[in-house]
C-alpha cells in the first residue's frame, strides 16, 4: 500500500473525526464534493453532519470556528487556497490569536492552508503565508514536508489547545508517497535531520525540503556532505537543532519558498547569528523567492522560486567562502 501526502491529510481528519466527537470540518465544498483537492473525500458520508459546506465567506468561516471552539468544539477549517485566508485574516490574528492571552480561554482551531506554488497557478493560488501568521503571537504554525508529518502533525494540531495554522504544501499533494502511516511521530516543535552531513547546513521546510535534498544529492558528487534540517514547525522554531547542526558544519544556508523580507529564513539567520555567531565559518546565506508576486508562467515561476539547481548553486557559493 502507498499513501500520498494528500491522502495522509484526509486520513488524519478521518481519524480525528472518529476519535473525537468535538471535531468538525468547515469550509467551501468540503462536504459531499470532498473539497477542491479532495482532502475531505467521503468524510461527509462517513461522519454525517460534521463536515459542513460553508458559503464563500472566509471571515465568517474563521469567526464561526472560533466561536465553536469557545463552546468546546474542535473545528478544522479548510481554506480553499492559503491565499484566500487573507479574507479571514482579521479573525485569525485578532480574534483567535489573542483569545487566550486576553481571556484565559484557549482557542483550539486548526486552519488548513493549501499552500505554496505549483506550475501555472499564478499570484493568487501559490502563496506561502507561514511567516505572516508566525509574526502574530498566539498562533502555532506548521509546515509538514513529508507524508508522515502531514498525518501526525495534523493529528497533533487538532489536539493542541491553541490555534494552529497548518500549511500543507500543494506541490507535495499527489507525488509525495509513503508506504504507510506512522504509528508514532516526533513531537511538534522538534526539527528533523532530513539528511546528515558535515560541510554545510541547509535549514528549510515544506516543499523546499525536497529541493534541498535534491541539491544535497547533486553536491555529494563533488564530495561535499550537506546536512538538511527540516524545520517541520516554524513556530515554535527549533533553534537548538539548528544550532547543533551549524556547530557540526560551520556553514548555514536557509531556503524558503516564501518572500525574503521578514521571513522564516531571516528569523533562522537572526537566531543563529545572535546565539551561535562563533559557530559560523562563513556568513550565513539565504535563498528565497524573488520579491515579486508569484508569476503565472512556468518559465518565470521556475526562476521565481528556489529550485534544486538554485539551491545547489547557493550551497556551492557558500562552500567556497
Amino acid at each position: 500500500m502507498s499513501i500520498t501526502y494528500l491522502e495522509a491529510i484526509r486520513e488524519a481528519q478521518a481519524k480525528a473525526l472518529a476519535d473525537d466527537p468535538r471535531v468538525f470540518i468547515y469550509g467551501q465544498d468540503v462536504g459531499t464534493f470532498g473539497g477542491a483537492f479532495k482532502a475531505t473525500k467521503n468524510l461527509a458520508k462517513e461522519f454525517p453532519g460534521r463536515v459542513i459546506d460553508s458559503p464563500i465567506s472566509e471571515d465568517a468561516i474563521v469567526g464561526m470556528a472560533i466561536g465553536a471552539a469557545i463552546e468546546g468544539a474542535r473545528p478544522i477549517v479548510e481554506m480553499q487556497f492559503a491565499d484566500f485566508s487573507t479574507v479571514g485574516f482579521n479573525q485569525i490574528v485578532n480574534q483567535a490569536a489573542t483569545l487566550y492571552y486576553r481571556t484565559g480561554v484557549s482557542c483550539p482551531i486548526v486552519v488548513r492552508l493549501p499552500s505554496g506554488g505549483t506550475a501555472g497557478s499564478g499570484p493568487f493560488h501559490s502563496q506561502s503565508m507561514e511567516a505572516i501568521y508566525a509574526h502574530y503571537p498566539g498562533l502555532v504554525v506548521l509546515t509538514p514536508a513529508t507524508v508522515e508529518d502531514a498525518y501526525s502533525m495534523l493529528l497533533e494540531a487538532i489536539a493542541i489547545e491553541d490555534p494552529v495554522i497548518f500549511c500543507e504544501h500543494k506541490f507535495l499533494y499527489y507525488h509525495l508517497k509513503a508506504e504507510s502511516l506512522p504509528a508514532e511521530a516526533q513531537p511538534i516543535g522538534k526539527a528533523r535531520i532530513a539528511r546528515p552531513g558535515r560541510d554545510l547546513t541547509i535549514v528549510t521546510y515544506g516543499a523546499m525540503v525536497h529541493e534541498s535534498l535534491a541539491a544535497a544529492e547533486e553536491i555529494a558528487a563533488d564530495g561535499f556532505e550537506i546536512e538538511v534540517v527540516d524545520l517541520r514547525s516554524i513556530k515554535p522554531l527549533d533553534t537548538d537543532t539548528v544550532l547543533a547542526s551549524v556547530a557540526r558544519t560551520g556553514r548555514l544556508l536557509c531556503v524558503g519558498e516564501a518572500w525574503p523580507w521578514g521571513g522564516v529564513c531571516a528569523e533562522v539567520i537572526a537566531r543563529v547569528t545572535a546565539e551561535g555567531f562563533g559557530l559560523l565559518d562563513a556568513p550565513p546565506m539565504r535563498l528565497n523567492a524573488k520579491d515579486t508576486p508569484v508569476p503565472y508562467h512556468p518559465a518565470l515561476w521556475g526562476t521565481h522560486r528556489p529550485t534544486a539547481s538554485a539551491v545547489a548553486a547557493s550551497a556551492r557559493q557558500l562552500l567556497e567562502i
Binding site: I56, A60, F124, T292, H297, L300, T303
Partner: protein, 340 residues
Amino acid sequence: MSEVVKSRPGAERDQGREIVKAYRTMLAARVLEEKLAALYRGGKIKGGVFLGRGQEALSVAVGQNLRPGDIFAPLIRDQAGRMAFGDTILDTLRTYLGSSLGSMRGRDGNIHRGRPREGYYAMISHLGAMIPVVTGGLLARRLQGQSGVVGATCIGDGGTSTGAFHEGLNAAAVEKLPLVVVVANNQYAYSTPNSRQFACADLLDKAIGYGVTGHKVDGTSLADCLRVIGVAITAARAGGGPQLIVGDLLRLVGHGEHDDASYVDPTLRRKPVGQDCIELAGAYIIQQGWASAEQLANWREELETEVDATAGRVMREPEPDPADEDWSALSTRELEDHFA
C-alpha cells in the same frame, strides 16, 4: 418587449442589429472557449481554464451596453463581456498560452487579465474584491468632475457571500455611485448549491437591504439580458445610484476544465434555466429573419478559422524569459528593496 419595439419606427431594426452584434460576440467567445478547452486537454495550457459556457448572453449584455470611458471589471465567466468591451481573441490566447507579448506578459494568466488604463480592470482571484475597486474608480471619476460614467462588475451567486460584496455594494449605495453589479446566478459555486450559499428567497432581495435598485433577468435570453442590463446601465448613468442585476442561468461546463460537474442536479439541464443561451439566440435571430441558419453557420466557421490561426500564431510567439525580467514589483525603482 413588443410594445417597446412598436413604439418607434426603426426600433425593431435597431434591436435586430444589437442582438445580431451581441450574438456574434457570444459566438466568438464560445468558439474561443472551445479552443481553450481543446488546448487544455492537449496539455498546452499551464494552470486552469475557466469557461463561461451558458453565460454568454448575460455577460455580453454588460460589455455591449458599456461605452468607451466606462469601467468594467469582469470575472471568471465573462469571455463574451470582455470581448464586447474590446478584449480580443489574440490577447485572450496570449494570456492563456503565456505569450510574452500578451497584456499580462506571462506574469498573470487566463481570466486574470485586463488593461486598467482602458477601464478594463484585471480581476484578482479573491471573489468580491473587484466591487469596492470599481466603486473607488467611480468615486475618483466623480472627484475629477466626470459624469455620465458607469462602472460595471460581474460576480457569481457564491461571490455574493463575501464580505467584499457586502461592503462594496453598501459603500457604493452610500455614495450613490453609478455602480452596476451583475450577478450570474448559475445555481452553484463550484460544487455548492445555492441552498448552502444564502437563505434569502432570491438574490434580488439583497438589493432592498442595500438600498439599491434590483433587476431580475432571464440569463438564457439574449434579448432580455440586453434590455434589462441596458435599462440598469442607463439608470446608473443618469444618476440613479447602484444597480444590482440578477441573471438566472446555468453554467454548462465544469467549474474549471478539470471538473466534470457531476454534482449538478441533472434535472436543471432540462429546465428553462438550463437552456443554452446561444442556441436560443440563434433560433430567435433566424425566426426574426435577421439572419439565416447558413449565415450563422458561416459566422461560426469564420470564427473557428480565425481562432485556430490565432492560436497557431500565438504558440509560435516567445515565452517570457526570466533573464529579461527585472523582478521588480514597484514602479518606483529607486525604492526597490534588494536582497543578497
